[in-house]
Symmetry: C2
Subunit: 400 residues, 2 copies
């Protein structure tokens, strides 16, 4: 078994476990930082590992377009190429392709209100065979199919591959969601078939649950995915218009899995705000990936134990001009440990100096790592509820 559940929370669906891959173990529940294009933005692989992370996520779509999966394979696979010797999960690229087409799908999947803006669609056509699109890099035409998504991931040599799914915006009608989910299931079968035929011996494959915001479709999709021989189950697609709906949608999927006594690992795609991590763990999610900690950092935002402010503070603000405060008092991260002040970091941000984004990225990743550590040890100690409440009340993560 690739996944062993080592503890269960009596008060929720949460579980702690160990996910075993060819490149090492991941202690769950775990957050997975993004190395979308073969690097974690601003931070070297050894630094990511030093923060306590055991797995990173690469992206099929981006690595296929640049530098190309053949080159990555030639340079030692994604592990050798990027200098990361631990486990790697690769996203299939479905979300990225369809984000280009729909423009606002990223907003919608993250539970943000639709902006109304529609970007020039780069998706040219979606049919049973796959999805044709125009590259955001050079305008060339490409087609991504379920088989190709698996072939690319085999070349990348990721420890966990994700099947190709069709991602639809959340506001589409039930009927269209139903049709799209059915197609995702057929693509899942094709992915698993390709993988069975060409099996990169140590690579695990996760299916992806779709079904939009419709309970019956989500539950049916969960069942359909669980009925296959995939090694793990990812929850993707449109999770609703806001956090409440997102938690509800995720809960349908994990409830269905629990009902079926499915003990495979579960990954929640693209979700990672602090409250969502807490809620997701309680709903029985094992791993999460999200651009949040790294993206916020690059934009001058630091994670702090302030639930009212969505756990974030904008260090570009004028109020920090004269501040000699650290990013966060008592924080053991490299940026806080060095004594860098908010006033200095604000100056760097105003000078557009990438060092600021890097230091905040280190801080944010360290913050999330401590949150996950607290949740893991909370489950193991049978006191997850207490830990979750402390975090939600604004306690500093780390040894809660």
């Amino acid at each position: 078994m690739a996944f062993e559940i080592t503890a269960r929370d009596p008060g929720s669906r949460a579980r702690a476990g160990v996910l075993r891959t060819a490149h090492g173990d991941i202690h769950t529940p775990a957050f997975v930082p993004l190395a979308t294009k073969g690097f974690v933005r601003g931070v070297a692989p050894a630094e990511v590992a030093a923060l306590g992370y055991e797995m990173v996520l690469g992206n099929t779509f981006h690595l296929w377009l640049a530098p190309g999966h053949a080159l990555v394979a030639q340079l030692g696979g994604l592990h050798g190429f990027m200098g990361w010797s631990g486990p790697i999960i690769s996203d299939s690229g479905g979300f990225q392709v369809f984000s280009m087409g729909h423009g606002t799908v990223a907003d919608e999947i993250k539970g943000r209100a639709p902006s109304g803006a529609v970007r020039a669609g780069a998706v040219l056509a979606v049919d049973e065979h796959g999805v044709r699109f125009r590259s955001y890099l050079d305008g060339t035409e490409h087609e991504l199919t379920p088989e190709l998504a698996m072939e690319i991931q085999a070349a990348l040599g990721s420890d966990i591959a994700l099947v190709l799914d069709e991602c639809t915006p959340f506001h589409i009608a039930r009927e269209e969601t139903d049709r799209s989910t059915e197609r995702t299931h057929r693509w899942l079968d094709r992915c698993l078939r390709w993988h069975a035929d060409h099996r990169p011996s140590t690579q695990l494959v996760y299916g992806i649950v779709q079904g939009g915001v419709y309970e019956d479709l989500r539950r049916a999709s969960t069942s359909a995915v669980a009925a296959t021989g995939c090694d793990g189950i990812a929850i993707g697609g449109s999770l609703g218009r806001d956090k409440e709906q997102m938690h509800e949608v995720v809960g349908w999927a994990t409830a269905e899995l629990d009902r079926e006594h499915d003990e495979r690992p579960r990954h929640l795609l693209g979700i990672g705000e602090i409250d969502d991590l807490i809620a997701g763990v309680q709903l029985g999610i094992d791993t999460f990936d999200c651009a949040m900690p790294t993206r916020l950092g690059r934009h001058g935002m630091a994670l702090v134990p302030d639930p009212e402010a969505r756990w974030r503070v904008n260090l570009q603000g004028a109020r920090w001009r004269e501040s000699t405060e650290p990013i966060m008092a008592g924080c053991p991260c490299p940026a806080c440990g060095a004594g860098h002040t908010r006033g200095w970091l604000r100056h760097l941000l105003h000078q557009a100096e990438p060092l600021a984004g890097r230091l905040l990225t280190l801080h944010n990743l360290a913050f999330v790592a401590r949150v996950m550590e607290d949740l893991r040890s909370g489950i193991a100690a049978g006191r997850l509820q207490e830990v979750a409440q402390a975090l939600q009340a604004g306690a500093s993560p780390g040894g809660l």
Copy 2:
């Protein structure tokens, strides 16, 4: 005495020494990385220190305009503000103000051929009182005077302040150079007077030698600066159209100082290519500052022991696409030590990822630190000539 010469090379004017400041010693000859705006670009202060650097250079002009010297003073002076506890030298801002005005003065002072391009002049007027200019940040008008340059540096709390000088392009006539150099001497007196009246007790002040590319003017300027009570002597201004002329011009100044048995520390402003560091040390320069290692790094260039290629390799080049080579074999720097390959770094550069510039900056600073270490120990061991020849023949720096 702030400066103690501990060894002299019998075959050249080179000397090794210890420069003592309120924030610690600098072992010379030494390279001084730029922290122009209160940070070394891409690299945290503790990392700069870990590479073996003892002093950094802040810039009066830039820090005055943003975030302002009053704010820097309030936040603990430049040391406290930027989190650097070692010695700091502050450039006076003359070069930066006049660079805005003349457009190509930076090219010219660095010994590059004039490009012919003239930027919209931001210097509004230069007269005996000072220099009026329009800020490059917001178009507001400012005047920098010798007294203000010293006042700003007192507020910054640098260990070594530089007097304000007038910088002229290299192609101006002898007569204009003469007039400008005389003004620089009068500004020197005003700077020293301000400093004597307001003396920030532990701050040293360096005068600046001008005189363009005219031997008699350079020698006269050297004598004039040496005749004052300044604590050290910087060589600035236009050093010629090419490296040969630059070495000649620097040689006139240090020869004049040697003739007068002047034992004060000598700083060469804005020079730092590998061959220039070797030549400068042999001409009797103690400290150097230059944007070269950090700027090259940000632009994808790595320093390597290849004199034919000006000690640099462009990692953006297509030839590194499939390379699994490190930046430099056997290099002990953090980037090479982590095993990052040229192929991966090229990918990062093509993705405009700042991590690439940071890793190359770390490598380049580490390279220059080892060059200076070799030159220092060469002088101490009485074998500078041998070390210099080895470096010039393409030996890897470090333990030569």
